[in-house]
């Protein structure tokens, strides 16, 4: 995985390492790890599939590729209890405000996987189409992009594991909410 969260200091580090803080954050970091471990291993996805990628998402949920091994199994119909929204399929102009409202309704530590070329950049409907939003990140901030049209179940699983790794590197005291400054295009 691209992200390694080990914290040993590399040998050729020029400067002197000053331990951060007065040791209080040792508790915080370990609390961080526990909470992040809990969050990473029980990502409940929302029932949200718009088009063909939804079928590949259902395949990942089915018996053969089975994402319930990693704890994704409980898919919640209501956005209040879901903490991961997998945008599986094309987002159209008429659907964008609905997607934005779903995202706002979700409880706070929420993550987004843009699955499939349509969710990443409009995919095959980029040219000559008057009604497709060219990429879901015009609507909501996206954490992990899974390319493919439709991506294979293994690709979606790899995307989910990458999201787990990303959650494990989060820290509670300087938590940045992806939505702040998103509308202003920061």
């Amino acid at each position: 995985m691209g992200v390694n969260n080990t914290s040993e200091i590399p040998a050729d580090f020029p400067g002197k390492v000053i331990p951060g803080g007065n040791g209080a954050n040792i508790l915080v970091t370990s609390l961080d790890d526990i909470i992040n471990w809990g969050r990473a291993n029980s990502l409940w996805s929302l029932y949200f599939g718009t088009s063909c990628c939804a079928i590949e998402m259902m395949q990942t949920g089915a018996a053969r590729h089975d994402y319930s091994r990693f704890g994704f199994e409980v898919a919640r119909p209501s956005p209040r209890q879901a903490d991961l929204i997998i945008i599986a399929g094309t987002i159209v102009n008429k659907m964008a405000p609905v997607l934005r409202r779903l995202y706002d309704q979700m409880a706070e530590p929420k993550y987004v996987i843009a699955m499939g070329a349509c969710a990443i950049s409009g995919g095959p409907f980029y040219y000559n189409s008057y009604s497709v939003v060219k990429g879901a990140d015009h609507v909501i901030p996206v954490d992990v992009y899974v390319p493919g049209c439709p991506p294979r179940p293994e690709a979606l699983l790899e995307g989910m594991l990458m999201l787990q790794a990303k959650i494990k590197t989060e820290s509670m005291n300087n938590k940045v909410f992806p939505i702040d400054g998103f509308d202003e295009g920061l």
């Binding site: 102009n93 008429k94 980029y126 040219y127 000559n128 189409s129 008057y130 009604s131 497709v132 939003v133 060219k134």
Partner: protein, 158 residues
């Protein structure tokens, strides 16, 4: 029934078909095409459906077409008993508010299809139960499938 038999049968209903602008063509399509004036559309359609030996009771495709200068609607009809097929075309010159009478009183499937044609071409259908946009949002301006539709914001032409 073959196309010729159909053609004679239908032209036998009306005293003189040419005078009221009813043409039969067959060359550029595999079905018999009838081009009819908007006024006689409803009357011809009801006859096509109710007449025992034509009995076109299945309207399987209703599509709006922008023929460049005029806007038109193409009806593909099929009879589930005799298994023969027919195409009825109707065209109108004025592009501001083209109106035809609805056929959804004859075939219930036309309700949705006519709403779709209105949505993409702006063709009004008189006494249609609830003629409003089906796919696009209410405040969408312009009718996308017309040839002269241009929308630079979200259409990237290649």
């Amino acid at each position: 029934m073959t196309n010729e038999a159909l053609q004679n049968l239908i032209s036998s209903w009306i005293p003189d078909p040419i005078a009221i602008g009813l043409e039969f063509t067959e060359e550029k399509s595999q079905f018999l095409n009838i081009t009819v004036q908007p006024e006689q559309l409803h009357q011809l359609m009801t006859q096509l459906k109710n007449n025992p030996d034509t009995k076109f009771d299945y309207l399987f495709c209703l599509s709006g077409v922008d023929w460049g200068k005029e806007l038109g609607v193409v009806y593909h009809l099929e009879s589930t008993t005799h298994r023969h097929q027919l195409v009825v075309k109707v065209k109108t010159e004025d592009r501001e508010n083209p109106t035809f009478d609805t056929v959804c009183t004859i075939w219930r499937t036309a309700e949705f299809h006519e709403r779709e044609v209105f949505d993409f071409f702006g063709i009004q259908f008189t006494n249609h139960p609830n003629l409003k946009r089906l796919f696009l949002t209410e405040e969408w301006d312009g009718f996308p499938l017309r040839k002269d539709y241009v929308d630079e914001i979200n259409m990237i032409i290649k």
